[in-house]
Symmetry: C2
Subunit: 211 residues, 2 copies
């Protein structure tokens, strides 16, 4: 009555990573990699074709990232079981993935194959899988209020080295209002000043280092 094999779809743009994942999974007697996708479109096509039991999904990919692809897959196949794999594990990253509906989140840093296998089996059986460190970040994030759209704009402008007056001009609002948003955003992030605000925003994964 139990299905003998767990069919896994590997989604990762990194060719070497795909090779490593396939090797680690295929060697297990109860697991079988039924396909590899390097991006969102390929992933969706293979999901439609093979209905995999579990999908391992990379976060960073050209085009749609793993969270967006997850949303698209779940929209069409609400029962799909997706485990997100990422080099990054900031509070915000984990939060976004969980909100999108993933069943597990693993960090690539460790590269721990045992952990991966546990996650795949647990999720295939209908459970979820979050290592302690990830679960902690999720809990931490849950306690924090979201930044509003305006606060995000201010935060971005702040990181670009704008003064309050400049931000006011850019957003076409009073610099009094900028001060207000800034105060709220410092409060939400737990920062003592504007400089620490951007630092904490980076650490929490709200802002990203892209040049």
């Amino acid at each position: 009555m139990m299905k003998m094999e767990i069919g896994v779809l590997v989604v990762d743009d990194n060719q070497m990573m795909r090779r490593g994942l396939r090797g680690s999974l295929d060697i297990e007697p109860d697991l079988r990699v039924i396909g590899e996708a390097a991006n969102g479109e390929e992933a969706l096509a293979l999901v439609r074709q093979h209905k995999p039991d579990v999908i391992t999904m990379d976060y960073q990919m050209p085009g749609d990232n793993g969270v967006v692809v997850t949303e698209k897959i779940l929209e069409e196949f609400p029962a799909a079981k997706i485990i997100l794999l990422s080099i990054f594990d900031s509070e915000e990253d984990v939060w976004n993935a969980v909100r999108a509906g993933v069943r597990g989140y693993l960090t690539k840093k460790s590269g721990d194959v045992k952990e991966l296998l546990e996650a795949v089996r647990s999720v295939a059986a209908g459970g979820t899988y979050y290592p302690a460190s990830i679960a902690g970040k999720l809990e931490e994030r849950r306690k924090q209020p979201d930044l509003t759209k305006r606060e995000m704009e201010i935060l971005t402008l702040l990181a670009d080295g704008n003064t309050n007056k400049e931000m006011a001009r850019i957003l076409d609002i009073s610099d009094m209002t900028v001060k207000l948003h800034l105060a709220n955003l410092r409060e939400k992030l737990g920062a003592v000043d504007r400089t620490q605000a951007v630092v904490l925003a980076y650490k929490k994964g709200i802002l990203h280092i892209e040049e």
Copy 2:
């Protein structure tokens, strides 16, 4: 007279990455992976034992990072040919690796196997290998002056949300001096204010996001 096979040592703490690398290299007729190491000690031991023609070295590892391990290997075997593989490719990261004496630097983001093979063969033949994006960052970094020890201390304290007065107290110097270092450091980083200074420090890889 030419050596038929290029012996490669793979150094990476990530088990899946090692698997992917080995698979990608071993499949080539002219390449042979003669060992895998998960950290600096293992790497050094295998280098002594096998004298590999080329070493692919991960940046992020528990214990000594890839640059430190590179230095240790080159101290003992100055002719060793090392290619650094990293997820990160900030100006500072590339700069540190090149200063340590690597012959090539590849980013793991692409996971481009062709590029890896080209790099290994080029380096084995006595050449170097830097993709255009990496070479550009190296050139960029070369033009910039180093931060002094004091400036680094100020930068770190700055990112922690300290005011000038607090930094002065912590470093036991005048807040006038803090202002001076801060001005120099803004100048070197090309930042308009203290907030942008830490942002640029992150982007350049001088500061790191660790919680």
